[in-house]
């Protein structure tokens, strides 16, 4: 059986047209393979392109070249060449993503933000909200906040909403961009336990964790992204 996520030869650069077409190479020849039940961690200093890699794997950034093969139910799709509608379908059913920051929508409650990915997949709304409650409870988000839109929450509270939203579904591939960055020790341990459960359930995880304790606890392998540093081009 193919691994759920196989990335090979992916390259990314930004061309800044407002800066006279300045080209900023970000990464080159990114190759990563994540097996079922494995948690692979992207390591390396800030600015090395770790978040950019996750964004490409989620279809949020376009790629200059290479392949991002995602396999689900025996079907393999190259996300690097997928149409917008295919990417949306992959996001709904296959690839989950916990971003660093929650993008809030006015007037939508924390509970509904968390339940939404399940409801979008056709699950019963009430049952989805119950599952969302259980997750928010586990992540120690005060009950008083559940019915409020998260726009005014603290960084740590927003992050827990974001984690709950990312973990509520059973997506076979999960991308994590520093999910524990603004959490206290107790909640970090909750997230470590949740990641362990995902691994046991066979989810392929690829993440960025600056916190050493979390990284040690969850990583099966660490890939140093400085290996994907682009060659300096001649101007």
């Amino acid at each position: 059986m193919s691994d759920p996520l196989v990335v090979s030869g992916v390259a990314k650069s930004f061309t800044m047209h407002l800066r006279g077409g300045l080209r900023l190479p970000v990464v080159d020849n990114v190759s990563v393979r994540v097996a079922r039940g494995e948690c692979v961690v992207l390591g390396g200093p800030s600015g090395a392109g770790k978040s950019s890699i996750l964004k490409m794997l989620y279809g949020n950034y376009a790629v200059d070249g290479g392949e991002i093969l995602v396999t689900h139910d025996g079907e393999t799709v190259d996300l690097a060449r997928a149409s917008p509608r295919q990417v949306l379908q992959l996001r709904r059913n296959v690839i989950g993503y916990v971003s660093q920051f929650l993008r809030t929508v006015p007037r939508v409650s924390a509970l509904d933000v968390v339940a939404e990915p399940l409801i979008a997949r056709g699950h019963d709304a009430e049952a989805s909200r119950q599952q969302a409650s259980a997750l928010l409870d586990r992540l120690n988000l005060p009950h008083a906040l559940w019915s409020l839109p998260p726009a005014t929450f603290s960084g740590g509270e927003q992050q827990r909403v974001n984690i709950a939203r990312g973990f509520i579904t059973e997506h076979p591939v999960l991308l994590l961009d520093e999910p524990t960055a603004s959490l206290d020790a107790q909640n970090r341990r909750v997230v470590i336990a949740m990641i362990d459960e995902k691994k046991r359930a066979g989810t392929a995880l690829l993440g960025i964790f600056h916190d050493e304790e979390v990284r040690e606890a969850v990583a099966d392998r660490i890939i140093d992204v400085t290996a994907f540093r682009p060659a300096r081009e001649a101007a």
């Binding site: 376009a62 917008p84 509608r85 990417v87 949306l88 929508v105 939508v108």
Partner: protein, 258 residues
């Protein structure tokens, strides 16, 4: 996800004398998806919307629409009566200025009920009940049902226009700057309402806006227009977070951060 597009447009071009309104635009829209058309004034987005919604015959190109029975129909080859029926029942059109989409001299209830009567509903009690239900859904107090929209605030008028459009259960809704001209707090409420209704009803929508935040909140796909042409299109978050074209980069970098 349905794999048959609801509407397929190819090479849509509109020339006004010497001037190009829009040129060579291709678009497929699928059931349940929202596509935003963004660009600055004069970029051709409203011209394109009018062509797609059978309100302005293009100079060249073709637009096909999948009828409820599954037939693919050439929009500009169908008879006037059939096109009118489509516009009154299967489509909605939300204008920037609610006065263009409402009848200002008749009651709120009649504004909603009128579209129902156009699809053959004759029972007064049922029409009134449906109108009440829709006023509630767009957050207009039901005791305003007998008031005329000229007594309503701008935000209420816009919500009433939305109720009038959605009451017949359309499959495709065209929106021209639906939040333009509204106060920011009113905009947020309207956007949230639109987002909820569109998701709940599984509508497809084509939304013209110059506001990239509106596009991000409502749409899954985006088309960026400049000088009548589509210069970049794709997933909304991809285009806004990783814009490729010089003009898109300019638009995105011109947003003021709060």
């Amino acid at each position: 996800m349905s794999d048959q597009p609801l509407m397929t447009a190819r090479g849509v071009t509109k020339i006004y004398g010497e001037r190009i309104g829009c040129e060579a635009v291709d678009l497929d829209i699928y059931p349940g998806e929202i596509v935003a058309i963004v660009g600055e004034s004069g970029s051709g987005k409203t011209t394109l919307l009018n062509c797609l919604s059978a309100r302005l015959a293009p100079s060249a190109g073709s637009i096909y629409y999948r009828m409820r029975d599954g037939r693919l129909q050439d929009l500009y080859a169908m008879g006037e009566a059939e096109r009118r029926f489509l516009m009154r029942t299967d489509w909605g059109f939300v204008h920037q200025n609610p006065a263009d989409g409402l009848r200002m001299g008749v009651s709120a209830g009649a504004n909603v009920g009128e579209r129902l009567m156009a699809v053959g509903e004759r029972h007064y009690g049922r029409i009134r009940d449906t109108a009440l239900d829709w006023l509630e859904r767009v957050e207009i107090s039901t005791d305003r049902i007998d008031d005329r929209p000229n007594a309503f605030s701008g935000g209420m008028r816009q919500r009433l226009q939305i109720a009038r459009n959605l009451v017949t259960g359309p499959r495709l809704v065209f929106m021209d700057e639906p939040t333009g001209g509204l106060d920011v707090s009113v905009q947020a409420r309207l956007l949230d309402l639109l987002r909820g209704l569109v998701g709940e009803l599984g509508l497809a929508a084509i939304v013209v806006t110059h506001d990239l935040a509106v596009a991000r909140l409502l749409s899954q796909r985006i088309m960026v227009m400049k000088d009548g042409r589509v210069i970049e299109h794709g997933l909304t978050d991809r285009v806004l977070d990783d814009p490729r074209e010089p003009y898109t980069q300019l638009l995105v970098s011109s947003i003021l951060q709060v």
